[in-house]
């Protein structure tokens, strides 16, 4: 219990550190949100200076940081120049869309990867394993971007699935079942791309850890007792192979917000991806920092969840 309190405090410090660092880094980049307005002949230098003052950009860095920290405490996470609203609600509505995309993708990827990895480790070197492994390697070599474009091309030609966005026109007039179907249809392509994109690494990890355990003497011992292959795999090998996989799962959680950024931009999914993309280009300072902080929070939560799972799965850790 103390361990987890420790971890939470640790996480809080990490968040503070990350926020200070991201402030400092962005400070290093030239220009701010109003820099490009200078080119606009209708805006005078005085107006711009006034705007900067209004948003507090003329203050020195520590003052701005403290100001921002106060707004974090209020739950606003700063102010977006481009959208003219507090950052938190803006980020949160986009983050929800991103999670709608990445949570099913991560679940599918794991649900598919574990059986494939276990199966091909159990048949190491045989035909099933070779086919699965070469397929996975091929998939590993294809960039996510290409997969996304390929899927878009196919659906454009066949007209079977919508090719972008999240909702159809006239969404609000649909019944709840039609709404569900509509969102699912829009989800299909990005979820498929993300699942296929993360699948190879997961399958390879599952297979490799399983193979390592399969060679250990205690597996031989169980064989000598006349164990069935199913009980061997699921009672002895998989639990022993679980620890590195749980850590990997923690990283999957940490990546929930950031894994899909590129794909979101390609299929114009209204998630964090496009928002962050524009915010970086437009130097919408607090939106960028807010997004970074959100991702860090997921990292903290992800590692915490994997630690909890390890604790639940491994009696050796519990014993300590």
């Amino acid at each position: 219990m103390r361990f987890f309190l420790c971890r939470i405090v640790h996480g809080a410090f990490l968040l503070v550190g990350v926020s200070i660092l991201s402030f400092a880094m962005i400070e290093l980049a030239p220009g701010d949100f109003f820099a490009e307005m200078r080119l606009n002949p209708q805006l005078s230098a005085e107006t711009l200076a006034g705007l900067r003052q209004q948003y507090g950009l003329d203050q020195p860095l520590p003052v701005r940081y403290l100001h921002w920290a106060r707004s974090v405490a209020r739950g606003e996470f700063g102010f977006s120049f481009a959208y003219n609203t507090p950052v938190a609600p803006l980020l949160w509505s986009r983050a929800r869309n991103t999670l709608l995309l990445t949570v099913p993708a991560v679940l599918f990827a794991w649900l598919i990867a574990v059986p494939i990895g276990v199966g091909s480790a159990a048949r190491q070197g045989k035909w099933g394993d070779r086919i699965a492994s070469s397929g996975i390697t091929a998939l590993l070599a294809i960039p996510e971007l290409l997969l996304a474009l390929g899927f878009l091309l196919i659906s454009l030609r066949t007209g079977y699935l919508p090719t972008g966005g999240m909702l159809s026109v006239g969404f609000s007039e649909l019944g709840w079942w039609e709404k569900f179907k509509d969102v699912t249809a829009h989800l299909a392509i990005p979820v498929a791309v993300l699942t296929l994109g993360s699948l190879p690494i997961l399958v390879r990890h599952v297979r490799a850890t399983m193979l390592e355990v399969l060679q250990s003497p205690f597996i031989n011992a169980a064989r000598a007792h006349g164990i069935s292959s199913r009980r061997l795999l699921f009672r002895h090998v998989l639990p022993a192979a679980l620890n590195p996989l749980i850590s990997l799962f923690g990283f999957s959680i940490a990546g929930l917000l950031s894994a899909s950024l590129l794909v979101e931009v390609v299929v114009s999914w209204p998630g964090l991806g496009p928002l962050l993309f524009e915010a970086i280009l437009g130097r919408d300072l607090y939106v960028v920092i807010g997004a970074i902080l959100f991702s860090t929070m997921f990292l903290v939560v992800g590692t915490l969840v994997s630690d909890l799972l390890l604790f639940a799965a491994d009696p050796r850790i519990r014993a300590q």
Binding site: P217, A222, A224, H225, G226, P315
Partner: protein, 272 residues
């Protein structure tokens, strides 16, 4: 118990390990077993000695079909294990148990001591949970393990205790034949003696058959009915201990005997 019909008989067993280098394509062959034949009558003890890498452990693994031999026959109670179906083999396995050399990694690191000892019973679907536990505790007591440590993980035992845990586990299924691959080498002498006494007692009671792999010639001389000497994958000599010590035939046996540490004098061990 008189040695009668052979319980375990190995005929012309061959096993070669091939290693291929990736780029040169060169093949390295290690002939671990070279036409090995052995016979162990029921209720007797055969000791297998030889230097490291002479193929003793490979023979142990092949006898229990944990490694598939390239050719040869393994008769256990008259039926050939090498050509048996997986199902049939799984049914036979409880009667032929192997104790591994490396007791540190031979246990599932997530299992407690009782679970480790009871797992063979679970695998063979024997008894209820309570009965399995009772049997496991019984075995812990017999092998001199502290019963109050039943809930501990294998990693929380000392090396010698782990060795005894391995022996306890192998006895769970009441095998007819036990192959001990250096099972006593990590133990201090009093415990070694205790285990040997247990093994001899079991042999006297239920006519257990042992294939004892070791490099401790002194110990072998005490308990074995016959000693086989292995060298570079071949059995070069098979004798009763007394004959082996008094008139060793093969040069390698003589070398092994000469290397035996003897208390008090530094001459080679001559008499048994």
């Amino acid at each position: 118990m008189k040695p009668s019909q052979p319980l375990l008989e190995v005929r012309n067993l061959n096993k070669t390990y091939v290693q291929r280098r990736w780029f040169s394509g060169k093949r390295f062959q290690v002939k671990a077993l070279d036409n090995v034949s052995l016979t162990i009558p029921q209720g007797s003890t055969l000791a297998l000695v030889g230097e490291s890498g002479s193929g003793k452990s490979t023979l142990a693994k092949c006898c229990t079909m944990l490694e598939e031999p390239d050719s040869g026959k393994i008769y256990f109670e008259g039926s050939n294990l090498a050509v048996m179906s997986q199902q049939e083999l799984r049914r036979r396995r409880p009667q032929l148990q192997l104790i591994f050399q490396d007791a540190a990694s031979a246990f599932n690191p997530r299992f407690s001591a009782v679970e480790i000892i009871a797992e063979p019973l679970v695998i063979q679907r024997r008894g209820s949970n309570g009965e399995r536990r009772k049997r496991a505790l019984e075995l812990m007591e017999q092998t001199g393990l502290p019963v109050e440590a039943a809930g501990r993980l294998a990693s929380e035992f000392s090396g010698g205790q782990r060795q005894r845990l391995a022996i306890a586990r192998a006895l769970t299924l009441e095998p007819k034949c036990l192959i001990l691959d250096e099972a006593l080498s990590g133990l201090d002498l009093p415990i070694q003696r205790q285990i040997v006494r247990l093994l001899l007692e079991l042999q006297a009671r239920v006519s257990l058959t042992y294939l004892f792999i070791s490099h401790d010639l002194g110990l072998m001389a005490q308990i074995a009915d016959k000693v086989a000497v292995m060298y570079q994958g071949k059995i070069v000599e098979e004798q009763t201990p007394a004959d082996l010590f008094s008139k060793p035939q093969h040069a390698h046996t003589q070398a092994l005997l000469a290397a035996m540490p003897v208390l008090g004098n530094c001459t080679t061990a001559g008499g048994a």
